[in-house]
Structures are given as structure tokens and as C-alpha cells.
């Protein structure tokens, strides 16, 4: 069914990618060679049995396909949409060598959407174990851990500081990439499994640390929500936003529908977005939908943009202008922003990340007019809870240090997702959470044997 035309999609926040029709899905599934040693599976961080679910789609047994995916991935409708498939499953697909790879993500999304429309069947839960588990944060990591542990029969309570569950899936990734009813359906399913989600509860405050540690186990999935600023002059001017603030105002608070909704966002004619990742692309595309002319400033080259290729292409189609090999040095204005002064960057020696190091070119400064600046230069773990967990080991960047199974240095306290890895991806957060949940389950079962 393809993508909606640019003119149409700039007028709303509806999904850009329309997904596959049943016939398209079957045709795509039939391209799969059903490899005996499927390389695609190795590319998937949670090792979904990709050929098996694709075979079910080819047989038109879409529900069975969805069930197979769900064995390994609780949020297929989400991952099918936002996974960087081109460097994961699809990047490894054998067909990709000569031709285009099987569109695994699109097929995953198709099966998941089909299942949701048919109405979810709540998976069977193990008998109650009487063990209480606290989950902090309701992003993909928290949701995954909650589902795994509820399925194992433990009594699970999720604490979320915002008024909606979902983490970045709700407040960060815009609806035109990930419709919010898709996320809500997944969360509702969790509620049906008996998981209690307490929104408006900030762990470390509404739930003090001793109360938290009184649970039989604690899983921390608080993400990497702390926005970084560039620390350049003029950053305090009105109209300078972190991407988190800008996206939260729109995605979570619906500022695009102000004054019907009470939360405003600045009405800007010209916006400069700083950064080159998914967050920057999302901010730029949201700003385009709010009617602004948008320039994205990134210090490296086009080929270095860390965002998903497809999103860069869509951003371009939607009229986002790119100022590459440029870096802001100062935000201009008196009370409100009027522009951004940038300097050209030159690509020099290769740095540790294997990419050329950008260095400023003397005397190359230029100004881009703007009445809004959005900084999307990265974010780190929120230290709020971590600092209160006396004795927990954390790294230089504030991330909780864990072993392979998500164990922290504190007894019975586990962590996964962005809070452990630093800002990463949805599927990695889920993969980590699943391992941690299994380790928690084993620990709780051993406990019971011990008694």
C-alpha cells in the first residue's frame, strides 16, 4: 500500500507508511527462501524465528505468524515499525546480496496489526507465585520485563512518573511513525495480564527507595531521558528547546492542537534542528508538520548521519533542508531566538568510532535565521533514582552497570534498556529486559525452593 504522498502527510500526524495489504504480504512472504541456516535470525537482537513466521504468512495463517513472533518479541507492531531493520534482520537476509532483502519488518508489522485488529488473546499465565516485583519505568524495557514476569506468575507493579505509560514510544517517537493507539493496545494487553501500572509515580519520591527495595525484586528501566545541551552562548533564549521538550509538548501533550489542548509550543516560521540521529529527524519532521521551514544542522557528512536511512529520505521528501558539515557556535537573539551562528566543519582524521573527526574551519562562520532551535544532540540516564540507590554501581555516563543478565551491584535489583546501555534502540531495550526478567524469575523460583 506504500507511503502517503508528501503533500498529504505534511497536513497531519497520521502514519506515513501504510503497511502491506494481505495480498502484498503474502507475495512478499513468498520471496523468502526459507533458508536452513537463516542469517536473518542472527541479525535480530531477540532472534525471532523469522522464516517460520514468514512461512505462516505465505500460508495466510496470519494469527499463527503473530504468535510465533510474540514468543520472542512482545511488541511486534512497534518493532516492525521502528527497528533499524536495514542493519539488523534485513541487513543479514541472503536475498539482499543480489536483490533486495525480504521486507521482514513490514511483514512483522503486518502480522502484528492483523492480530490486534482481530483482538488479542491474553497468553496463558503461570500459577501465582506470590512474589512481588516492582518495575520502574514503562518504556519498552519496563513493558517487556513486566510481561515476562507476569507470564511467569509473579505479581507485577509498574511505576511510571509520567501520566501515560509507554516511555519514548509515547512521548518521543511521533505518531506518524508509530501511531499511539498501536502502543496503547500493547499496554492494554499488559493490563489484561494483571499487571498494575501506576502512572504519576516517580520512583525515589512517590515510592521511596526503601519501599521499592521491599519488593522481592526490582527492575529498573528508566531509560535515557536526560537531554544534553551544547553549552553554547544564547542557549537560554526563549525558543531554544531540547528535542525531548519539543517532542513531549507535541506527542504527549498535543501542542499541535493548541488551544483545544492547553499545552502550547512556540509557533515558529523557521526552525533549526541540531543533530543527525533519529531524534533529530523526528523533531525536524514534526516541525515541518507545524508549518515551519526547517534546517537540520549536522557536523559530519550525509553518509555519517546516524538516523535510519529511510527516515532521512522521508525528511528530505518532506522538505527538511540539510546543512551538513556545520556546527552551531552561538544562538542569536535578545529575548527570543533570531538565528543560529554556525561554523563549517572539515572532515579530518578517523576517530575511535571509525568515523572522520570533524574540525571547525576558521573564518567560515555563517548565520541561519531561525525563531526556534531544537537541540537533538543526545541524552543520558536520568540520575534522579540512581543517586538515591545508595551503593549501586554506575558508569561515567551515569548508566547503571549490569552483568549479561541485567544484575546490578545491588542485591535483587536489575536494570536494562537505555539506563544500562545509554541511548540505544527499542529492540535492544527489550532484549536486555527479557534476559533480566528471566534471571529475576530464576532467582525468585530458587527463593521459593529455599523456603
Amino acid at each position: 500500500m506504500g507511503e502517503r504522498p508528501v503533500r498529504e502527510r505534511l497536513c497531519d500526524f497520521l502514519e506515513v507508511d501504510c503497511g502491506l495489504s494481505p495480498d502484498e504480504a503474502v507475495a512478499e512472504a513468498e520471496r523468502c527462501l526459507q533458508c536452513k541456516k537463516p542469517s536473518c535470525v542472527k541479525g535480530c537482537p531477540v532472534e525471532i524465528d523469522i522464516p517460520a513466521f514468514i512461512a505462516r504468512i505465505a500460508d495466510r495463517d496470519f494469527s499463527a505468524a503473530a504468535r510465533i513472533i510474540k514468543d520472542d518479541n512482545l511488541l511486534p507492531a512497534v518493532c516492525g515499525r521502528v527497528c533499524p531493520q536495514e542493519v539488523q534482520c534485513e541487513g543479514e537476509c541472503i536475498l539482499g546480496v543480489k536483490d533486495s532483502p525480504v521486507r521482514i519488518g513490514a511483514l512483522e508489522r503486518f502480522a502484528a496489526d492483523y492480530e490486534r485488529e482481530q483482538g488479542f488473546v491474553v497468553p496463558p499465565l503461570a500459577g501465582p507465585t506470590g512474589k512481588l516485583v516492582a518495575i520502574v519505568g514503562s518504556g519498552p524495557a519496563g513493558l517487556t520485563a513486566a510481561a515476562e514476569l507476569a507470564r511467569a506468575g509473579h505479581s507485577v507493579t509498574v511505576f511510571e512518573s509520567l501520566h501515560e505509560a509507554g516511555g519514548v514510544l509515547m512521548y518521543g517517537i511521533p505518531a506518524f511513525r508509530l501511531p499511539k493507539d498501536v502502543v496503547q493496545a500493547e499496554i492494554d494487553q499488559l493490563r489484561k495480564m494483571g499487571v498494575e501500572i501506576r502512572t504519576n509515580h516517580l520512583a525515589g519520591a512517590s515510592v521511596p527507595v526503601p519501599e521499592l527495595l521491599a519488593y522481592d525484586a526490582v527492575f529498573i528501566g528508566t531509560g535515557a531521558g536526560l537531554p544534553f545541551f551544547m553549552n553554547i552562548p544564547g542557549e537560554q533564549l526563549n525558543g531554544v528547546y531540547s528535542a525531548n521538550e519539543f517532542l513531549t509538548r507535541v506527542n504527549l501533550m498535543h501542542a499541535e492542537r493548541f488551544p483545544e489542548y492547553d499545552t502550547p509550543v512556540r509557533h515558529a516560521g523557521r526552525v533549526v534542528v541540531v543533530g543527525g540521529g533519529n531524534v533529530a529527524m523526528d523533531a525536524a519532521r514534526v516541525a515541518r508538520r507545524l508549518g515551519a521551514r526547517v534546517t537540520l544542522v549536522y557536523r559530519r557528512r550525509e553518509e555519517d548521519l546516524p538516523a535510519r536511512r529511510a527516515e532521512v529520505v522521508r525528511a528530505r521528501e518532506e522538505g527538511v533542508e540539510f546543512a551538513l558539515c556545520a556546527n552551531p557556535v552561538r544562538v542569536l537573539g535578545t529575548n527570543f531566538v533570531t538565528g543560529v551562528e554556525c561554523v563549517r566543519m572539515e572532515m579530518c582524521e578517523i576517530d575511535e568510532s571509525g568515523r572522520p573527526e570533524p574540525t571547525p574551519v576558521g573564518g567560515s562562520n555563517f548565520v541561519i535565521d531561525a525563531d526556534m532551535v531544537i537541540q537533538a544532540i543526545g541524552q543520558g540516564p536520568n540520575p534522579l533514582l540512581i543517586r538515591k540507590l545508595g551503593g549501586i554501581r554506575y558508569g561515567r555516563k551515569g548508566n547503571i552497570v549490569v552483568d549479561e543478565e541485567g544484575r546490578s551491584s545491588l542485591d535483587r535489583v536489575y536494570a536494562a534498556g537505555d539506563v544500562a546501555t545509554g541511548a540505544a534502540t527499542v529492540i535492544l531495550a527489550m532484549g536486555g529486559a527479557k534476559k533480566a526478567a528471566r534471571a529475576i524469575d530464576r532467582m525468585l523460583r530458587d527463593d521459593r525452593k529455599g523456603h
Binding site: 504519576n200 516517580l202 519520591a205 537531554p227 537560554q236 526563549n238 509538548r249 501533550m253 489542548y261 492547553d262
Partner: protein, 285 residues
């Protein structure tokens, strides 16, 4: 399924100043002096921060001045009404210690935050002097409560309609001339905090102010609330809201508070229109 928070009691305290007691055990049980909560009245509402003014059992009291859309809508709530979201307690509690003599200065709606701090300071073993000031007697709140919480209470109004004729800053100046003062809290509008904290600067008296920048999440996630303190960027919601008054860039705070001036006007006008048409305070879509 989703939580709703019941208004237990609501009423007016002074001109445009209202109080609400809301049932929110997760906040009430853990809130300390100096902390705040975030309220979102309904599905379309904005998240706004309000100081925890007092707690009793599972109830929290907030006191606010009806200035814009959300605070006006809040002032229209009655006992029994439901509030969609209440999150907290947020921010760091007041830095309490045994300082000696403490002065707690409140201006306008900022007086709301004072009794809880005064009580905490007294419990910590300090001699507590309260100063409350308002434009006129009609704007003055919590006088009895403050008298109760403090060892001494001084009252000032700009027009002399009650107590001392003048500003809270003038009263504070007299107090620090007459006695040894070790620690001061000043809470009120940004301009009042700026002016009043100049009084304690020459003597280097430890002075706290509670900053009120525009917030969204209140948990350190958006940076909307960033302020400059001692030349460093701080997030008021997690690093504050109380900071060393003598290090705060108040002009910047006031500049950033005006970010949505035009939008706030639109929002309030729209609310008043709807409120009139429905013949009642609540607004539905």
C-alpha cells in the same frame, strides 16, 4: 483503570487565591517542605507545577493564584470533582538544618509555601520569624497559620491596608538590622524574590529562593525549567526548586517565564468564553 484524584475540599482564600485539598496518598505520604507536585486537570490539560503547601493523612493542599487558563479552571473545581493526574512529590526538599534564627518571607501566592517551611525550620530547632506581604489586605493569605507556625510574625501590605505599610523587603531589612539572622527563605513572584534577596546579600546571609520557571514533566526530562545559578545551567525541577538566592539569574528566569505570553492569553480568553456559554466553570472540549 487509570487513577483519578478526588478533590476533598476547595475554597477561596483571598482575591484570586484559592486552595484545594486533593486526595493523593503517594504525594501526601512522602512530601517534605519545599517540594511540589504536578497537576493535569483533564485529558486536554497542561501539566502545571504547584507547591505542596500542607499535608494531612492522604490529602495534599495546594494554594494558587488564578492567573491563566489552568489555574482558573482549577479554581472552578468543587469538592467531589476529579482531577486526572497528580504526580509527585517532585523537586528537592528545603535544605533544613539547625541554623539559629530563620526568617521565612512570603509574597502574594508565594505565602502558600511558607507555613510548611516555617514548621520544618521550627522542628529543626530554629527560632523562626515569618514575614508575609501582599499588595493589600484582600490578597493576604494564611496569616493565622503563619502566626501559629512561627515564633514571631510580621505582616506588610504595599498600601498599608494591613500591618506594616511597605514591602516585605523593607520588613526584612529591619529584622536583620535588629537581630542576628542566619538563614532566610524568600518565596514569591520572581521580581519580589530578586528585590528581597538583595537585602541579605551585603551581610552574606544564607538565602534560599524557590524558582518557578515553566515546567513540563517536572522530572528532569525536558529542560524547559532550566535556570542559571552561579553561571551554571540547572534544571529547577530536579536540582531545585530552591537555590541560593545570591547566585540566581532572576532576569533570565523572568525572560523565560514570558515564552508563551501570547498563547496564555488565547487560552484564558477561550476558557472564559466557554465557561460563560456553559453557565458553569467546567469546560468540556
Amino acid at each position: 483503570m487509570k487513577p483519578l484524584y478526588r478533590v476533598y475540599e476547595a475554597g477561596q482564600l483571598a482575591d484570586r487565591i484559592f486552595q484545594i485539598w486533593v486526595e493523593a496518598p503517594h504525594v501526601a505520604r512522602h512530601a517534605l517542605a519545599g517540594q511540589f507536585l504536578v497537576i493535569r486537570i483533564d485529558e486536554k490539560g497542561e501539566r502545571i507545577p504547584l507547591t505542596v503547601s500542607s499535608v494531612e493523612g492522604d490529602l495534599v493542599r495546594v494554594i494558587f493564584m488564578a492567573v491563566g487558563k489552568t489555574t482558573n479552571q482549577l479554581s472552578d473545581l468543587k469538592a467531589g470533582d476529579l482531577i486526572r493526574d497528580v504526580a509527585g512529590p517532585l523537586g528537592r526538599p528545603s535544605e533544613m538544618g539547625q541554623y539559629g534564627t530563620c526568617v521565612v518571607v512570603g509574597g502574594g501566592a508565594g505565602i502558600a509555601s511558607c507555613p510548611i517551611i516555617a514548621r520544618a525550620a521550627r522542628e529543626a530547632g530554629n527560632h523562626v520569624v515569618g514575614i508575609i506581604g501582599a499588595r493589600n489586605a484582600g490578597f493576604l493569605i494564611l496569616e493565622d497559620e503563619m502566626r501559629d507556625a512561627c515564633h514571631e510574625l510580621l505582616v506588610a501590605t504595599d498600601d498599608g491596608s494591613r500591618g506594616f505599610h511597605g514591602f516585605a523587603a523593607d520588613v526584612l531589612k529591619q529584622v536583620i538590622e535588629q537581630q542576628q539572622v542566619d538563614c532566610v527563605w524568600i518565596i514569591g513572584p520572581a521580581i519580589m524574590m530578586k528585590v528581597t534577596s538583595e537585602v541579605t546579600r551585603p551581610k552574606g546571609i544564607r538565602t534560599f529562593v524557590s524558582l518557578n520557571p515553566i515546567m513540563v514533566d517536572g522530572t528532569g526530562m525536558c529542560g524547559s525549567c532550566r535556570v542559571q545559578v552561579g553561571g551554571e545551567t540547572k534544571f529547577a525541577c530536579v536540582d531545585g526548586p530552591e537555590f541560593d538566592a545570591h547566585l540566581v539569574d532572576f532576569d533570565l528566569l523572568m525572560q523565560r517565564q514570558r515564552t508563551y505570553f501570547d498563547e496564555e492569553k488565547v487560552s484564558l480568553e477561550r476558557y472564559h468564553e466557554h465557561a460563560c456559554r456553559c453557565g458553569e466553570g467546567s469546560y468540556h472540549g
